[in-house]
């Protein structure tokens, strides 16, 4: 539902007003509701979580809007489209929303400025999905096996090298199977 006032943003505040015995209902976006509230036109707010007229939230929004609006970045990649969702960087900077997970690869360079500005870093620490944990563990094991096989060959221990080669093949087969699944 669109805001009745600006007809641009989504309505998040619903309000019933009684004027001279006649009840009227309004659907407003947070911004318009805040404006009306300042003017004293809105007194009874239906949704209590939506008190976005709060003094401190404005800071964050402005900050973020500013980062996206960098004209320089727009010029660089005006024509590029995400192969997965068809999103352009200008769509992202306009809405502040990314089109799909692949967009983060497609517009990696452009977005990294924004991400750096918002978070102060572009490197994740913290929990990892189980599927990735398995992949990471396999990659580490593969690296270790390759190191071992190298050492075995250098020592001319061909028996061990053959065993390690089989292990590596098995690991690779598992990987293909899992990625195909």
């Amino acid at each position: 539902m669109l805001c009745e006032k600006c007809k641009k943003r989504t309505a998040t505040v619903f309000y019933n007003e009684n004027i001279n015995g006649k009840t009227q209902s309004y659907s407003l976006c947070g911004d318009c509701a805040a404006k009306l509230r300042e003017q004293g036109d809105l007194q009874d707010i239906t949704s209590m979580m939506d008190s976005f007229a709060a003094p401190f939230s404005a800071l964050q929004t402005d900050l973020f809007g500013g980062f996206f609006g960098m004209p320089m970045m727009k010029a660089v990649s005006a024509e590029k489209k995400c192969p997965s969702c068809g999103c352009r960087y200008s769509d992202i900077s306009k809405s502040g929303r990314v089109g799909c997970p692949i967009c983060y690869d497609t517009f990696g360079e452009e977005l990294s400025r924004t991400i750096q500005s918002v978070h102060g870093t572009t490197a994740h620490v913290g929990s990892v999905p189980s599927r990735h944990r398995a992949l990471q563990a396999r990659a580490e094991k593969m690296k270790a096996l390759k190191q071992e096989i190298q050492e075995a060959i250098e020592k001319e221990d061909y028996e061990s090298a053959a065993r390690l080669r089989d292990e590596i093949r098995k690991l690779e087969a598992d990987k293909t199977e899992q990625e195909g699944a």
Partner: protein
């Protein structure tokens, strides 16, 4: 039992704790570029494991606006979620305060909300649900950026931890602005709740982590908990500093608020929030003894417009009728124990 009417840790200064995890499924565009078919497909997919682990499915497309808003008032969904025009479903385990919004800004918003100061437990709850879904689904994730989200502000852990604090003394003392500045320097955000313009009327604030990338879940919780402890200390100090004439005037105000809550015939929700804050302060200071946090807390949801309307035998048609109904509801809750 829920966050608003069950006693919790540090209830003098903390009303509730919440942890929310944003997750998206690989192979689908984000919400704004998704068609209806895809949105339904995601809801159906995640619905199976959630429903079999005891979550109730609530399809918002089938709810009246009043019902939808009532879930907002209970903090189970965001205000944005309640008004979406695209398919959106809430999976709810009301008893444990656990909820999964499917079809919000991110495909999934997994959240746990608990009474009082209970960040660790809220994280454990949300994380348990997340792990269950992680078994079945491939979440959008990159090694560098962590969990991939519709809005880059949620990248990394996708985690927003927040605590709803009750800070009447700091508010009265005019300390909230400078506190907000200090907190923003360490990556925390303060938002006034129930406020009109200044956000100060109810003395209630939501304090949450602003940054989600480059910081682990444990670190977010640790940082927020430390800040909450410090804010609590300052609030306690500010409460103790109220003495003499100031205390007399405050006591008078609190007693009047108690009287108005118990005996008024009509009440707007903004007046209610002001009186609620005064009486809650009164309980904390030991000035109000025959109303408990739990009884009062109930009203934080029950006296809100949508929930109030839902609970009425005859839904109020006018603003005045609603204000009469609200006053009656409050009287009913607070006068129960009176002789």
């Amino acid at each position: 039992m829920a966050w608003y009417n069950t006693s919790g840790n540090a209830w003098d200064t903390v009303i509730s704790s919440r942890v929310r995890l944003a997750r998206n499924l690989n192979g689908y565009p984000f919400a704004s570029r998704m068609n209806e078919e895809q949105a339904h497909a995601i809801i159906a997919k995640v619905g199976a494991p959630l429903e079999s682990s005891g979550f109730k499915k609530i399809d918002f497309a089938e709810l009246s606006p009043v019902m939808a808003t009532s879930y907002v008032e209970k903090h189970f969904v965001s205000p944005q979620f309640a008004t979406l025009q695209t398919p959106h479903v809430l999976f709810l385990q009301e008893q444990s305060g656990s909820a999964v919004m499917a079809g919000e800004e991110d495909h999934l918003r997994i959240q746990s909300i608990l009474p009082g100061l209970a960040l660790e437990e809220a994280y454990k709850n949300a994380s348990r649900i997340e792990k269950r879904l992680d078994e079945d689904f491939d979440f959008a994730y990159s090694e560098r950026l962590g969990y991939l989200t519709h809005c880059p502000t949620n990248l990394g852990t996708g985690m927003r931890a927040s605590v709803m604090m009750f800070l009447p003394a700091l508010t009265r003392g005019g300390y909230m602005e400078s506190l907000a500045v200090q907190l923003s320097k360490i990556g925390l955000t303060v938002r006034g709740l129930f406020g009109e313009g200044s956000g100060a009327a109810g003395g209630m604030y939501q304090i949450s982590n602003q940054i989600t990338l480059g910081i682990s879940e444990e670190e977010i919780l640790r940082k927020l908990s430390e800040a909450i402890q410090q804010i609590t200390d300052s609030e306690e100090k500010a409460r103790k500093a109220i003495t003499g004439d100031t205390l007399d005037r405050l006591t008078d105000r609190i007693k009047r608020a108690e009287g108005t809550l118990k005996y008024a015939y009509m009440m707007t929700s903004s007046e209610f929030i002001k009186l609620f804050a005064d009486v809650r302060f009164g309980i904390a200071l030991g000035l109000v003894t025959d109303i408990s946090y739990e009884e009062l807390g109930n009203l934080l949801v029950e006296a809100m417009p949508a929930t109030l309307t839902l609970g009425a035998e005859i839904p109020p048609k006018t603003e005045a009728a609603r204000d009469i109904l609200r006053a009656a509801k409050i009287r009913d809750f607070l006068q129960r124990k009176e002789p």
